[in-house]
Symmetry: C2
DNA sequence: TTGAAAGCGCTAACAG
DNA sequence: CTGTTAGCGCTTTCAA
């Protein structure tokens, strides 16, 4: 048998006080005199008391837990986000219940249900790329559980949203590319059902248009947000002999796929084909050449999400849903930095 | 106010049955007739009932939760492990409570205490690199909470352990390196207080010794398991002008640090200096050149850890603590594959 | 096949 | 400052 757990009343008995006194003493309730507190704490230490959160949460009707639903975790963007979320939660005495949908909408639904059953005080969600049905989120909303959508955000009103300026970031990158001389720019665009896919594509289009460059539909290659998608998209254009001079990818993993494909077919980056991506937040890029990108500040995203959520939790009655848009900035490293002459020479070679 | 949560008795009232009946019906207890079950389920759907885990766990005295403590998560090895743990848990109807110590022993202690308070059914732990005090783990053990140490394992008897063959893996790698002609092999060794640091170093030493190569203390550089350590160690040897021909790093991040340092000082891998590392499990290496490594099969590690833990949970009375050692294999990619002649030419250049 | 009684361990509200 | 009473929502006997 599992050894009997020490409870409040065990401590109470030892001291000939009531369980209430012990309960309060342990939580540093001002009701209790310092001496009693000291005595209680001493005994509870000795006995190795460990409060039962289940019981505590049940009777206090709050859980001090925050549920998080992410689509993936073995990926720098999300694992970095989650580390910062943990840091924030830890500093504020909240527990994080992390669930991972693995980009699977059904699983996502189950996870949210579980979090509801756990009676988490709030949720932070980044939706899976195949999310179609939003009913479960409406349920969360109707239960009045504070909710923050982060980065990948569905079309729902009246909930908190924290994201980066996807449109502006994409626009900025393409504008830069044009400035250094690129005209033939493709976009590997990811899933357009998701805001980040849509907005980044829009930013790309707008930047081209505003600079008088015609949009070539062949160069907008739809896929998803993963490595394989980058690889496949590259190979598609390669075999159709339609490769552009520069590829702008919707995420960092997609760019990794491009690197792999380029290597496989013996094309060098950035000499034979150039790349820039949205996302990534590593201080150091270990790719060769180091990949330039539109940076997503993961700490800011995580901190803002947590802050809004906690504000919402502590101030439920009259809380106005917030939308926070975080600025991105272009980080130029070893790609997309103006080696156009080489690119042109490749094209000359190819077409000759 | 938070809207009143639907409870068992709400459903019971609607149907004019007792809460017990509802409770049993919802859990498909054989006591209940099919018709009643159907009716109960129908109503509970309609009402949007969501069982309160707190209450359920409290009264049933089990939580269906497994606590996991990892040192880091924004790192491929751990994030991959955790994804597999989630998969396994999901398939077995367990919830995972993940905590991250950020390589901080104090935080680790707090996390374990929290997991105890949550009354998790079992724990999987990979210890932080600065772990000194093992008391908290002894407490878990004494409470008879099933426990699996994974990968990074402290010296405690009578608990489950799942790890790869660190010694054998290191030995295999060094033996290979010697076979292709290397004699000057350094080891960036990480923290020796932790089993993986110690064992990998031992494997390195043994392989050298068995092949008649003298161990050069200058070439055993202690550090930790992170990128910065790899960078610093490289720079130390570089400035002392003591770089070897090949560096064997204790982890993948340490190798990343080496890549960065080498790039910074303008040395090319593998021509000027060669590298191989322990760990990594990515199907595709995006480094250039692709890094060869001793592979740690994360899925096997995760699955074995979970399986042992569940066995232990379900069979608490007479469970013998298990130690599972998983084989590694050498994955050769673009480094450490026999380009010794070039290395020698570098040395010639350097010393001339 | 169903239900009444009891209790999991804790805290909130109030009274002393 | 301390304690009594009641109950959080559920499950586990055990009796009907």
């Amino acid at each position: 048998m599992r050894p009997k757990q020490i409870t409040l009343s065990d401590i109470a008995q030892k001291l000939n006080v009531s369980t209430v006194t012990v309960s309060k003493a342990l939580r540093d309730h001002p009701d209790i005199s310092p001496e009693t507190k000291k005595a209680v704490k001493k005994i509870s230490e000795e006995l190795g008391y460990s409060p039962n959160f289940m019981a505590r949460n049940l009777s206090s009707r709050k859980s001090n837990m925050i549920g998080v639903v992410l689509p993936k975790i073995a990926q720098h963007f999300f694992s970095s986000i989650i580390e910062h979320i943990y840091d924030f939660a830890f500093a504020n005495n909240y527990e994080i219940i992390l669930t991972v949908s693995q980009e699977n909408a059904e699983r996502q639904v189950k996870h949210v249900q579980t979090l509801l059953s756990m009676r988490v005080d709030g949720m932070i969600i980044s939706i899976s790329q195949d999310t179609k049905d939003l009913e479960i989120f409406e349920i969360v909303k109707s239960r009045q559980i504070p909710l923050v959508f982060m980065d990948r955000i569905p079309d729902i009103d009246g909930v908190n949203k924290v994201r980066v300026d996807d449109y502006g970031g994409a626009y900025k990158a393409i504008e830069h590319a044009i400035k250094i001389g690129y005209k033939n720019i493709a976009h590997f665009s990811g899933n357009l059902d998701i805001n980040i896919g849509r907005e980044r594509l829009n930013g790309y289009k707008a930047a081209l248009k505003d600079n008088g460059i015609k949009i070539n539909p062949d160069w907008i290659v739809k896929g998803d947000f993963g490595e394989k998608s980058g690889y496949d998209s590259f190979m598609k254009l390669y075999h159709e002999n339609k490769l552009p001079d520069l590829i702008f990818t919707v995420t960092y993993p997609v760019a990794l796929g491009v690197y792999a494909a380029a290597q496989e077919v013996g094309m060098r980056i950035p000499d034979d084909i150039d790349v820039i991506c949205f996302g990534d937040a590593m201080t150091q890029s270990f790719l060769s050449p180091p990949l330039s990108c539109i940076n997503q500040p993961t700490k800011e995203i995580a901190d803002n999400s947590m802050q809004v959520l906690l504000d919402n939790i502590h101030n439920k009655e009259d809380f106005q849903a917030k939308e926070i848009v975080i600025d991105t900035n272009l980080i130029l490293r070893g790609t997309c930095i103006g080696n156009l002459s080489k690119t042109n020479s490749r094209k000359a070679k190819l077409t000759s």
